[in-house]
Point group: C2
DNA sequence: AAGTTTGTTAAATTTTTTTTTAACGTATTG
DNA sequence: CAATACGTTAAAAAAAAATTTAACAAACTT
């Protein structure tokens, strides 16, 4: 085993290990491994990056970088920064994982809540018609009632999810679950 | 507008609306719309389903149902149930969204925590070599130190995420955020 | 104003994923 | 034990997504 690795190479190895792990776990955020890799790369840059730098670093085309960076902006993991005296757009990775976590999940969960609660409202109004109608077969009514009840129960979950989002956005959650700066004894 | 829609058709419409919303929002759970649609379909069945029923309901092939159902099992949204006197396997949708939420996110988040913390441990050990080595360029050392510090900070997030998972698995979170059976005044 | 630079969109290509048909192995039934 | 039913894997086909090259439009330079 070579003991005389160049320090620059060691740093490079260290970064690659973390970049790979990031790229692998970012599927939860709905991005492909190459987009995850782009984020990981930016994560280790200590200055804003241009599209050309990204292209050179990852060996991919510029339009590819352009669309990837936009996807990363969509999930709030990358921000465009303005730098005086440069024509090129510059982008910086969001390095505070708390912020990306909050932005991403609150957005996704609220979308889940809103879309589903809307659908449930429409569905329930239709089911109510069946339930309240005269001369409808009792078995059919029963079916509508069961569905209605099931939807009512699911609303409990969506309301809870909404509260979870609220507690994250207001940062109340951090009173319940504090951010521990120090490592707990292993 | 036709006032005399068949009650059965109304129920069908109600279900379809919800199934569509479910299929649309299930992308967060990393499944395709057709798998989401399968889950939605099962969600409105009040008895376990066989692969053949699924195939007929969705108009897709049986192998497709087989693999889709497995994916749904992976994310704990569908369970195989045993029914006496039937050769066919039967599957039932998990209808308690709290349970699927808990299982899914705890699993994904723990994977994120473990993979990344492992990578960070390896990376930090490499960076430490650079930092502690003799006769290494000061600028290179500085770089290693910055990376090291950044990784240290990210560990705060992963530890927090681990605590979040813990609080969900122990259900402590429900003391902080109770499940409200009743609707709050709109 | 002509010529560059920059980022994006469009079209074409490649790769990956999804879906289907076909084939197979195991178990069950008569 | 032959015949059938069931679920899965394998191979093929179809569809979708990612990536690239080409083309374009806006902004900047000179």
């Amino acid at each position: 085993m070579p003991e005389d690795i160049q320090p620059e190479a060691l740093i490079e190895q260290a970064r690659d290990i973390v970049i790979n792990a990031i790229a692998e776990t970012m599927d939860l955020y709905g991005v492909t491994p190459s987009i995850g890799r782009l984020y990981g790369t930016m994560y280790f840059k200590h200055h804003p990056m241009t599209l050309d730098e990204m292209k050179d670093d990852l060996g991919m085309s510029k339009p590819s970088m352009s669309t990837s960076v936009r996807k990363l902006q969509d999930i709030h993991m990358v921000q465009k920064v303005w730098q005086k005296g440069s024509r090129k757009d510059k982008y910086m990775a969001e390095k505070n994982f708390f912020r990306s976590f909050i932005k991403f999940f609150c957005k996704k969960w609220m979308r889940e809540v809103n879309l589903n609660l809307e659908a449930i409202a429409m569905a329930e109004s239709k089911l109510k018609k069946v339930i309240e109608a005269q001369d409808v077969d009792e078995d059919v009514k029963k079916e509508a009632e069961i569905d209605f009840q099931q939807l009512e129960e699911s609303k409990v979950y969506y309301r809870w999810l909404k509260q979870l989002v609220r507690s994250i956005e207001t940062e109340e959650i951090f009173e319940f679950l504090p951010v521990n700066q120090e490592e707990i004894e292993p």
